[in-house]
């Protein structure tokens, strides 16, 4: 990541877009891997996980940015963890109230958003030094990038592993699902496959640039 200067972000649109693509938290920074691998066995689970993480990221970035001048430096990490844990608890109860089935499927991984390094990382590296507007955009961008990444895995794993997309069958009767995709091993394979694709694209781009 050569072009990371979080302390002085350029225009606001770039603040948003960098999280989606150039600094994608999962595919580029390799952060927050546990939920990416654990709950992406179906599209719905992946989507809920992505949205919950984005919510926590947005709220914690907002609060950290608002309070950035009031929090003494020595206790900042403890404060951030406190703030994050609060919003994760809020998200946890909200999901239970909306759909207890989804909550059961995600299990303890909702609570584990607390230790998702993306959130603490953004609070420390971005929200504690930037204005509210920028922090919100940054949270939306990073959250969006995370959601896209989990969906990338969720779609591949559910379509191949179960022959369905969000519960709707996409193949005919004769389709024999690739069970391995739903199994834990499949999560590693699919994520590895995506990273391979990106590094191949990057390499090809470099080669065409050299040739030109």
């Amino acid at each position: 990541m050569p072009e990371t200067s979080t302390s002085k972000p350029p225009e606001n649109m770039d603040t948003f877009l960098k999280g989606i693509w150039k600094e994608n938290p999962v595919f580029v920074q390799l952060l927050g891997m546990c939920p990416v691998l654990a709950v992406t066995n179906s599209v719905i689970n992946a989507l809920v996980m992505g949205l919950a993480t984005t919510f926590v990221l947005l709220m914690s970035n907002t609060l950290v940015s608002l309070l950035r001048k009031l929090i003494p430096k020595q206790v900042r990490i403890a404060t951030y963890i406190l703030i994050i844990a609060t919003f994760v608890t809020v998200a946890d109860y909200t999901i239970q109230a909306v759909s207890i089935e989804v909550h059961k499927a995600l299990g303890a991984f909702i609570s584990l958003i607390v230790v998702n390094c993306i959130i603490l990382g953004r609070a420390e590296a971005f929200a504690s030094k930037n204005t509210l507007g920028r922090s919100v955009l940054d949270a939306l961008g990073m959250g969006g990038g995370f959601t896209i990444a989990v969906l990338c895995l969720g779609v591949v794993r559910e379509v191949l592993g179960n022959g369905t997309f969000a519960g709707i069958p996409v193949f005919g009767e004769s389709f024999e699902p690739w069970i391995v995709m739903i199994l834990p091993g499949g999560a590693f394979f699919v994520l590895g496959g995506w990273l391979l694709l990106f590094s191949w694209l990057k390499q090809r781009k470099k080669q065409t640039e050299l040739a030109a």
Binding site: S7, L30, P72
Partner: protein, 236 residues
Amino acid sequence: MTDAETTKPVPPAFPEEAPEAGSGKMISAMGAIGLIAGILIVFTYQVTFPFIQDNKARLLEKAIFEVVPGAATKRVFTVDAAGKVTEVAEADPKQLTLYACYKSGGGLAGVALEASGQGFQDVIRVIYGYDPQKEAVVGMKVLQSTETPGLGDKIEKDPQFLDNFEALDVKLNPDGDVLVNPLEMVKSGQKTDPWQISAITGATISSRAITAMLRESTAKNIPLIVQRLPELQKGD
């Protein structure tokens, strides 16, 4: 490559702040944040609590009515170690819980109860319904399992396997303390007697786990239910 931004020398984050904040300031900042956190959490908990209770009750009721056909209303009873039956508002995980189900016109439709045991990968929890008139298990539903997708998880949805539990004989002997025929598992398609469970091909261990937990649970609890039937029937 992962934490290039955190390792990079960053400009001082709090230029307007004295280099050493006093401990009083630290404590008051932590206290204020803690207060906000506490208020937010308690507020959310209060708002969502009724919805969550509702959802949980609905989920449980759905499972119970699925395993006891014809049920319209239910009451919850717990049985303590001495075999005393008491009606409760909510199930106590430490005691045996019986869900007595009644038909819409009154009369006991059946009793649902939970069983659990070791599966192929982790613990499996099921709920099953017992009909005292038919003297049979009339339905079974898996509540929780982590069996291998595509193989072991057939215990949840394989229609032929679930057919086993629509009329599974658990008659008691004349003394009413032992099952005449304990449940047993046979190979797929070799079921000849109503107390046999025919296994799923390719998921023998998961099928055996279900059989074992039901055999144990029925042998222990069915005599007790039959004995306490008058109490479960009352007040419908």
